[in-house]
């Protein structure tokens, strides 16, 4: 059960980005992936969610082969994705951004489930606002809310703390931990912020040049250890 990525190779046109990446996220796990800029972290998530599927290798989710599925089929199967840069749809409202995520999971209700505003009380009063005019912190909250509303089994998060002030990072930290324990959801988290990773995840993987070069329990991730891979 869970996610099994087996030896995938992914390309953008002719540039070979992922080289035989193997990674598993068992049911209920919370794993972070770190690595320098441009090593292919986002590409890994894009391969999993089907934006840029791998050319070789396989991806299994809950024992089904989903390697060649379209993005919307992954979502239906229980994987939700929070992209780097949030990708809030700018010209529709906060409410509509949430509703469309529900529709993507075949939920025809017009009522935003109450638990969403329990996690993100700040979103409740700004539901009519257009997505494009939200602050970075609000957009990140909306991006997480939009994924959470789909009640996924697996959440893919790409740098949720990027560009946010420390107090907002702390809020996101708490929310991710709550989601993991309360919503029965495994999480694959891409992050650069070591303190954040050590606080929220139990396991990590380090990528370098399109490959996973280290994996282990979070205790192993000391500053010196990470420094070998993160410093230039």
């Amino acid at each position: 059960m869970g996610l099994e990525v087996q030896g995938i190779d992914t390309f953008y046109g002719t540039s070979h980005i992922l080289h035989g990446v193997t990674l598993s996220v068992p049911d209920g796990a919370m794993i972070s992936v770190l690595g320098r800029n441009g090593v292919g972290k986002s590409t890994l998530l894009k391969s999993i969610i089907g934006i840029n599927p791998p050319q070789t290798g396989t991806i299994h989710f809950n024992d089904a082969d989903v390697t060649k599925e379209k993005t919307h089929e992954h979502v239906r199967a229980g994987i939700s994705y929070i992209p780097q840069g949030r990708e809030i749809i700018p010209d529709i409202s906060v409410y509509e951004n949430l509703v469309i995520a529900m529709r993507g999971k075949n939920n025809r209700s017009n009522q935003i489930p109450a638990f969403i505003f329990e996690y993100f009380p700040a979103l409740e009063p700004i539901q009519k606002r257009k997505g494009g005019i939200l602050s970075g912190g609000q957009q990140q909250q909306l991006a997480i809310a939009r994924a959470l509303i789909q009640e996924p089994n697996l959440l893919l998060m790409d740098e949720p703390t990027e560009g946010l002030q420390p107090s907002v990072v702390a809020e996101i930290d708490t929310i991710i931990k709550r989601i993991h324990t309360e919503r029965n959801c495994s999480i694959l988290l891409i992050e650069q912020n070591l303190d954040f990773i050590r606080d929220v995840t139990q396991q990590f993987a380090i990528m370098d040049s399109g490959q996973i070069v280290e994996e282990g329990n979070i205790e192993k991730l000391t500053d010196e250890f990470a420094g070998q891979y993160l410093s230039v």
Partner: protein, 289 residues
């Protein structure tokens, strides 16, 4: 002066015809990003549908939904068999839809022969009423104005007040992310292509009584529709309203003052000048991403 006012009112019916003809093209281009070169032929098929409905004893009111369904189905077949594979290649969609248009002309000629068909207006819309001017204003032209308004309202509701519309707007704005939210973007494209085609069918059905039905009848409507979109843009439905309004009124009034050739010419020059100022039309447009 009085006759200028009459012409202005007459202009409304020309505007209505432009709106009816252009909205299907605008929906397909604005949402699915396809310049449908077969648009005129889709209108033509709608008109033949009305002719057939007429021969079976139905009138325009029956022809409207039938033509919508027939041409929507036609659009669906074209989309599934051809367009779905080439959405992201604009030049090929242009050529492919152009080819579809030619095929439709040939096929319709084979089925219906070279003769013209005439479709009567429904009995209760026969005749006209007198306005301030001298010429009576035909009821059917008033009906066209009403139909144009109804079509715009329905299209507005489909695109901006329905679940489908929400998906459509998300797909248009950010196709990849819409997919990542679980939206089947290919299905949205397909439905929108069929809907836009159906609107062209309705145009054919309501325009049939003011024009003889032939396999080449769609061409001038297609040209006018393209002018409306070039001027108005397809960033919003207001583009269709504004484009039709300006072109329809200007052409009617200028044709009255000078003559119809000079009227058309002046409007054309006006459009060329306008797109130098508004290269994407008055209301902009989105490229498929």
């Amino acid at each position: 002066m009085e006759s200028i006012i009459t012409q202005f009112l007459n202009g409304f019916s020309v505007v209505a015809i432009l709106m009816i003809a252009a909205v299907g093209l605008a929906v397909i281009f604005g949402v699915a990003g396809v310049i449908n070169m077969a648009h005129g032929e889709f209108i033509m098929v709608g008109a033949y549908t009305a002719a057939v409905v007429g021969q079976l004893g139905g009138n325009t009111f029956i022809a409207i939904p039938v033509a919508f369904l027939v041409v929507a189905l036609l659009g669906l077949v074209v989309e599934r068999s051809i367009i779905q594979w080439i959405y992201d290649r604009p030049l090929e969609t242009l050529l492919a839809t152009w080819g579809v248009g030619i095929i439709l002309q040939v096929v319709m000629k084979l089925i219906f022969g070279p003769e013209l068909y005439y479709v009567g207006a429904p009995k209760i819309l026969d005749g006209g009423f007198r306005t301030i001017g001298l010429l009576p204003f035909p009821w059917y032209r008033l009906f066209l104005i009403v139909i144009a308004i109804i079509i715009m309202i329905i299209t507005y509701f489909v695109l901006f007040r329905s679940d489908l519309g929400l998906k459509v707007r998300a797909v248009r704005r950010n196709r990849t992310m819409a997919g990542c939210l679980g939206i089947d973007t290919a299905k949205v494209d397909m439905i929108i292509f069929a809907f836009g085609s159906g609107l062209a069918g309705v145009a054919g059905a309501v325009l049939a009584p003011i024009k003889s039905v032939s396999t080449t009848m769609g061409f001038p409507y297609a040209v006018d529709s393209f002018m409306v979109l070039v001027l108005g843009g397809v960033g919003s439905l207001w583009g269709v309203v504004a484009g039709s309004g300006l072109i329809g009124e200007a052409e009617t009034i200028l044709s009255f003052i000078y003559n119809s050739v000079i009227g058309k010419l002046l409007v054309f020059i006006f459009i060329v000048l306008a797109i130098r100022v508004f290269p994407k039309g008055l209301f902009g447009y989105h490229e498929r991403t």
